[in-house]
Amino acid sequence: MEERKYVEFTEEMRKTYTILAPNMLPRHFKMMMRVFASYGYNIELLETTGHRIIETGLKYVHNDTCYPAILVIGQFIDALKSGKYDVHKTALIYFQTGGGCRASNYIFLLRKALQKAGYGFVPVISINLAGLEKHSGFKLTAPLLHRLFYAIIYGDVLMNITNQCRPYELNKGETERLADKFTLELANKMQTEGVSFKKVKANCKEMLEAFAKIPRSNETKVKVGVVGEIYVKYSPLGNNNLEQFLLDEGAEVVVPGLLDFFMYCIVSNQTDISLYGLHKMRKPVLDLVFNYLVKQQKEIIALMEEDGNFAPPTPITHTMELIQDFMGLGTKMGEGWLLPAEMLELNDEGVHNIVCTQPFGCLPNHICGKGMMKPLKEKNPDMNIVAIDYDSGASKVNQENRIKLMLANARANLENKERENSVLPSDENKNQKNSKKILDKAEI
């Protein structure tokens, strides 16, 4: 068989080309882009929004393809058409997982769409760890990966604590401003500082302290977790600004971090060995990397616990234990076992209300999302989950109405719990102040 042909991103191009990247997690990606920049890539994050992106996507991608592909490809082509870039000096970059989910085909759908739109000459770089494609001008070296990993750590911590601050801040916008400031500073540090986990920890500590100083109310708010297909879970473009909607509804949003997804990918590779006896020689490297990530994550968690102002994330090893009774770790397409595992993790953290986001017609989600709700709820009657489908035709009214139903339940549950708690003997004046803490305890 002949080799599949694609436009290669060459060493020459690296010097003169602008690489466009899709945006999924604004803060994470901003820092990651800075890492790439420090390795000599001229990379730009697309932050465009608007209906034209969907229109463009629908025009060039099979309409039954997953919504994230329609959005990302639409965003790329829309950018190329915008006139803002010299299309002959522009490349695109996109992630490719390489599993059994059709997401592995996004790169090819993107190339087909480019061909159709008359941009067949634009190189598309695939970021993947499965060695699917090679580009002489683009290499994921170990130090680069290492730095990317730190960007993810920063991004996760930042996302975690801003989510815990924002709903309670007394001066509107303060959290956001501080988060913006740190995003910029850390991005700069990614370029200047070497790869040292010690420095990462110091930076995180600084961040934790700075956010703790934001004046906050101690009212009790409904906590809502967001899980789902990775793109619609994180991207405001994909989920109709879900986070903002939940905030406006007076909820505190809890979103599990990106690091978990990467560790999940590694576990997927490990199960190929443990379940099927495949690629046995990869085992030492996989185990090494996994253990390393686990250790780093634990240290960050310890740091947050020590600081004591914010609830830390759950270590992946515990999340993996939680899912064992419900699903095998061999379920590895799409978000696989991680999706229900994150629901359990949230529940375990006292976040019983969950929005499960998925693109309409997402195959792995039939099994890992909707397919797991019944058994999960049976074992955990407190869980209050709503599944929301996202696609170009879904109406925001319907989505919001369903989320409102979940929130109404959440508030009722919270009231009941408060009523139970208020029966507890307590000092009346202090009661108000401590109610949040009592509640947290009661929920755990």
Binding site: M1, E2, E3, H51, L58, K59, Y60, H62, N63, T65, G99, G100, R102, N105, I107, F108, L109, K112, K116, A117, L132, D272, L275, Y276, G277, L278, F326, M327, G328, G330, T331, M333, F360, G361, L363, P364, N365, H366, I367, C368, G369, K370, G371, K374, P375, P381, A387, D389, G393, S395, V397, N398, Q399, N401, K404, L405, L407, A408, N409, A412
Partner: protein
């Protein structure tokens, strides 16, 4: 409830649903006023109007008030009145009024809800793809041309139920239309429609949770439609004590809102409420608007003048003498007739809704025509086309029955000899064909999910209180048409809801809907990315294009002008009439026989085979009969004389169902014959037989299989092959299996020609879902190990480790031997399939038969999932081979997508084989909801088209009607004939 939080004298609940507004006023526990009215999207006005009605009661007293309902959200926000989510409001009422209720089923205009009260409150609403609601019943009543009340009355006299797809309204329509066309009793259809709503509610919402105990039925449709309540009671097996239809059923949400109101701080007077509602400015988002269809009056005039040119001449029937030609187009919702002179002028034409009874319409029209003809005009030829083609052909002895696509092409050619593209948007379907070198080059029909085009506009016009003509006229003048996207109608319903909330005018909504219909056709059906793909010469037709707003939207969307014949809605009939001109002498029923014409229809069940097709037997006065509903020739009572054509689907079915099993000693292992089991059955069957198990395979699916398992399906948008798995599990458990085996296989067989060899996520991990959702599985040992079938040693090792946990006395050596045996059985099976494939190809070539590669997945051979399409293809003269029997005959090659799945890789190579052989066609079967096929279909198409071959795709789901499939396959045959210059076999 109602403790010290407010001091208001009255409590008011307002419930604004998608179609109706409800209001309840209480003083204490006494309801003083209640009202239920349609709001025709005038939410603010209607609410204010209802409020005024109660001002006499309340005077200036303080009122606690709250709004609920899907269309009430915007109003509540704008008027700053408390809002309560509607399901939650229902919950409030039930807790108060019927505390021992276990479950509430509430149907509204566009929503369906189930609330479980036992064991923790659990509430569910319909997803974004569901139509089993009030609006659906309305739509169906419109389709039957009766009122909802009449529909209800009819349903009570039903004698039988037809299976009607329950997923969404569009599907159901596809099922109902042919039933009506074939003369099914309206009583039976009415009850079947209700049953579809019931099935939808249960399958879509209960999602594995059993509905039992005391059930409360709420909402407008359940209050008004007694027959619907009856279907629910029967299906759920509830007696009168357990099925409660309360008097306040319609008002439950409003009532709940009134209780919620009492707990709020603010109170109002009736005047302050009315003021708040009236002043609630429509909060227009400003986003999602499009450019108007016409920039100015001049542009509009130019448009009108241009289209006036494509007219057909009329001839006066009173003056004409000589031969005339009759064309009949019996479509899904309308019947069209056209009588031509020898010069193709129109003597007589007819276009109207067939009102569910096309035979009667045609009889009336023929009578009328004969009256006008007198002795001076003779019908020299006649042809019929469309859904009702066969029925009409048999009833009136029409000379030719031709497939629609051929009829339309014949007509379009008349207006534009070089026509390159024909787009026909009718009441129910979109059809488009590309013409290349004077032959139909590719055919695209809308998939069941995006139909509803013309009739959809009509339904909408009606709902908003306009005739379709007025509605279209309004659309021409919309200043900023709303952007409604290009998805199916169910989605559009809610988008329209949203734009109404945003205060869009009727003009803008009408224009927006027209644009949506066009986008739907362009991007969903044609899948065009630019006008260039459609070519220069485009003819648009079909009744929907009478609508100037649609026509204009189309021209705007593709960026250049098109031809719309003045007889846009008659093109099928006109084409049929043109076609019939080659007739020498017509055999059509004469005026004398027509007078004595009678038509009756009754239903029957075919006893020809185990399929038991439900037949509709039409009898005509002269003893002639026409039978429909049959999936094969047996139902027609004919003896099968000829040797059947080779059919790999049949061969595989026979092979798999006749695997012999020995009496085992280790107990019974059940193998569900669904999804991946269809491919690997010989492997697992071999292994477990060899290990000494008694192996039981679940029988091939029927509709019953699906129904048996539908209670535990958690995701209603999964593919049918997956959903039917639940029934197989239930069947095996009922049959007494001790264990059930369906392994998790991330990787399928590696056939060494691809980037990877995955299974799709559904085939790979469905057991994980079954384990969590099928409660019955707790009764047996459910075996679902993760296995590697590509490595004998690994497979034996993994299987041994797993089985040893469940069964005593199994040794590693035994498993190893069994695995060897099983893999050998699998190889034998695949070899047999390939040998039979070779035999079939040889047979076809020796006997000069067309070959069809019916390409899908292994599970598409299932009689229920594949709906007998293989046999249909046989009956149309094709030798049918499967993708797995021939793909190895083509060299492996590199495709343009990531070739990541085993089953799909076979598709690509089978397509290559078809592309390389002129006597071989490929028809791809695609299960609705198969995300993977969004990738494969485009690739298979491009492989075929690169060699100038037709690409034909058939989407299959629960739909059992073969009519549309037949049209598609006959169009393919027609196109092939046309291309080879053989012009009469269609």
């Amino acid at each position: 409830m109602g403790n010290e939080s407010t001091v208001a004298e009255y409590s008011l609940g307002i419930d604004i649903g998608s179609t109706t507004a409800k209001i309840v006023l209480r003083k204490g526990e006494e309801v003083l006023f209640e009202r239920y009215e349609r709001h025709f999207s005038q939410v603010r006005e209607k609410t204010a109007e209802l409020l005024r009605l109660i001002s006499g009661i309340t005077g200036d007293s303080e009122i606690a008030a709250a709004i609920s309902g899907s269309a009430g959200l915007g109003l509540a926000e704008a008027a700053d009145i408390p809002f309560i989510q509607e399901v939650f409001a229902t919950g409030e009422v039930v807790k108060l009024k019927e505390p021992d209720t276990s479950c509430v089923i509430e149907l509204g205009g566009e929503d369906a809800k189930i609330i479980f009260l036992d064991g923790g409150l659990d509430e569910r609403m319909n997803g974004s793809c569901a139509g089993g609601t009030g609006a659906f019943i309305d739509q169906m009543a419109t389709l039957l041309n009766i009122t909802v009340d009449e529909l209800d009355t009819l349903s009570l006299d039903a004698g039988r139920l037809y299976p009607i797809a329950s997923r969404c309204g569009v599907f159901a329509k596809t099922d109902i239309q042919p039933l009506l066309n074939q003369g099914a009793r309206k009583e039976d259809v009415a009850a079947s429609i209700y049953q579809a709503v019931v099935n939808q509610t249960i399958a879509g919402l209960a999602q594995g949770k059993k509905i039992e105990g005391k059930v409360l039925f709420l909402g407008g449709p359940l209050y008004y439609c007694k027959g619907l309540g009856l279907r629910f009671k029967k299906t759920l097996n509830l007696d009168d004590e357990h099925a409660i239809f309360p008097e306040y059923g319609r008002y439950a949400v409003a009532l709940g809102a009134s209780y919620f109101a009492e707990k709020q701080q603010d109170t109002y007077t009736i005047d302050s409420l009315i003021t708040a509602v009236e002043n609630a400015g429509s909060v227009s988002s400003g986003k999602g608007r499009l450019k108007p269809l016409f920039a100015n009056a001049y542009e509009y005039r130019k448009f009108v003048d241009r289209h006036a040119k494509s007219a057909v001449k009329n001839a006066d029937i009173a003056e004409y003498k000589g031969k005339a030609y009759l064309g009949i187009d019996c479509g899904s919702t309308t019947t069209k007739l056209c009588l031509l002179t020898e010069n193709n002028e129109i003597l007589y034409s007819y276009y109207a809704s067939n009102q569910g009874n096309p035979v009667e319409i045609v009889r009336e029209q023929l009578t009328e025509i004969y009256k006008l003809l007198g002795d001076k005009i003779v019908i020299a030829g006649s042809a019929v086309t469309g859904y009702g083609e066969e029925l009409i052909k048999h009833a009136f002895s029409v000379d030719y029955g031709i497939v629609e696509t051929i009829a339309h092409y014949t007509a379009a050619k008349y207006f534009e000899p070089d026509v390159g593209f024909i787009l026909d948007i009718g009441g129910q379907d979109i059809k488009c064909f590309k013409i290349r070198n004077g032959a139909i080059d590719s055919i695209m029909l809308n998939e069941a999910c995006s139909s509803g085009c013309g009739s959809f506009l009509e339904t909408f016009a009606k709902a908003m209180g306009y005739s379709i003509e007025d509605f279209a006229e309004k659309g021409l003048h919309g200043n900023s048409p709303v952007d409604l996207g290009s998805r199916c109608t169910v989605f559009m319903n809610s988008s329209v809801k949203q734009s109404q909330k945003d205060g869009a005018s009727v003009e803008d909504i009408s224009a927006g809907l027209s644009i949506s219909v066009v986008k739907n056709a362009l991007y969903k059906v044609i899948r065009a990315s630019s006008a260039d793909e459609l070519g220069e010469k485009i003819v648009v037709q079909g009744g929907t294009f009478y609508n100037d707003a649609v026509l204009r939207a189309f021209e705007r969307e593709i960026g250049h002008n098109v031809i719309r014949p003045s007889i846009a809605g008659l093109m099928g009939a006109y084409g049929a009439a043109l076609y019939s001109k080659k007739c020498a002498k017509s055999n059509i029923i004469d005026s004398v026989s027509l007078k004595g014409f009678v038509h009756t229809s009754k239903s029957a069940v075919c006893q020809g085979c185990t399929n038991h097709c439900r037949l509709t037997v039409n009898s005509f006065g002269d003893g002639k009969k026409f039978i429909s509903g049959n999936q094969c020739e047996k139902g027609l009572g004919k003896a099968v004389t000829e040797e059947p054509l080779p059919n790999l689907y049949e061969f595989k079915r026979n092979y798999l169902t006749s695997l012999s099993s020995k009496e085992g000693t280790r107990g019974t292992v059940g193998l569900p014959l669904a999804l991946g089991m269809y491919e690997l059955l010989p492997l697992w069957h071999g292994i477990f037989t060899k290990l000494g198990f008694n192996v039981k395979v679940s029988p091939m699916s029927t509709r019953r299989t699906y129904e048996k398992g539908q209670f535990s399906i958690p995701s209603d948008t999964a593919c049918y092959p997956a959903k039917i798995m639940h029934g197989h599990i239930e069947a095996l458990i009922e049959d007494g299996a001790d264990a059930i085996f369906y392994p998790c296989l991330t990787y399928n067989m590696d056939e060494k020609m691809t980037d990877n060899h995955y299974n799709c996520p559904v085939v790979a991990y469905y057991s994980e879902l079954l384990k969590g959702n099928v409660d019955e599985l707790a009764k047996v040992k459910f075996l679902y190990p993760y296995l590697n079938i590509n490595n004998k040693k690994e497979l034996a090792k993994e299987l041994y480790t797993y089985l040893a946990k469940f069964f005593d006395g199994i040794t590693k050596a035994q498993v190893k031997k069994a695995v060897d045996f099983g893999l050998n059985e699998y190889d034998k099976y695949m070899q047999a399939v390939r040998d039979e494939g070779a035999r079939a190809l040889e047979f076809a070539r020796k006997n000069n038969k067309r070959i069809m590669i019916l390409a899908g997945r292994p599970y598409h051979i299932d009689a229920e999932i594949g709906h007998g399409i293989d046999k249909l293809a046989n009956s149309l003269g094709f030798v049918v081979v499967s993708e797995d029997s021939v793909f190895r005959l083509a060299e492996p090659f590199t495709v343009k997508v990531l070739n990541q799945w085993t089953y799909h890789a076979r598709l690509y190579r089978a397509a290559r084989y078809a592309a390389e052989h002129s006597d071989t066609e490929l028809v791809q079967l695609v299960s609705f909801g198969c995300g993977v096929d969004a990738i494969t279909t485009d690739e298979v198409r491009s492989i075929l088209e690169s060699e100038g071959k037709y690409y034909t795709q058939i989407k299959i789901d629960e739909i059992t009607n073969l009519g549309a499939v037949k049209i598609r396959l006959r169009s393919l045959i027609g196109a092939l004939d046309e291309r080879s210059g053989d012009n009469g076999r269609a």
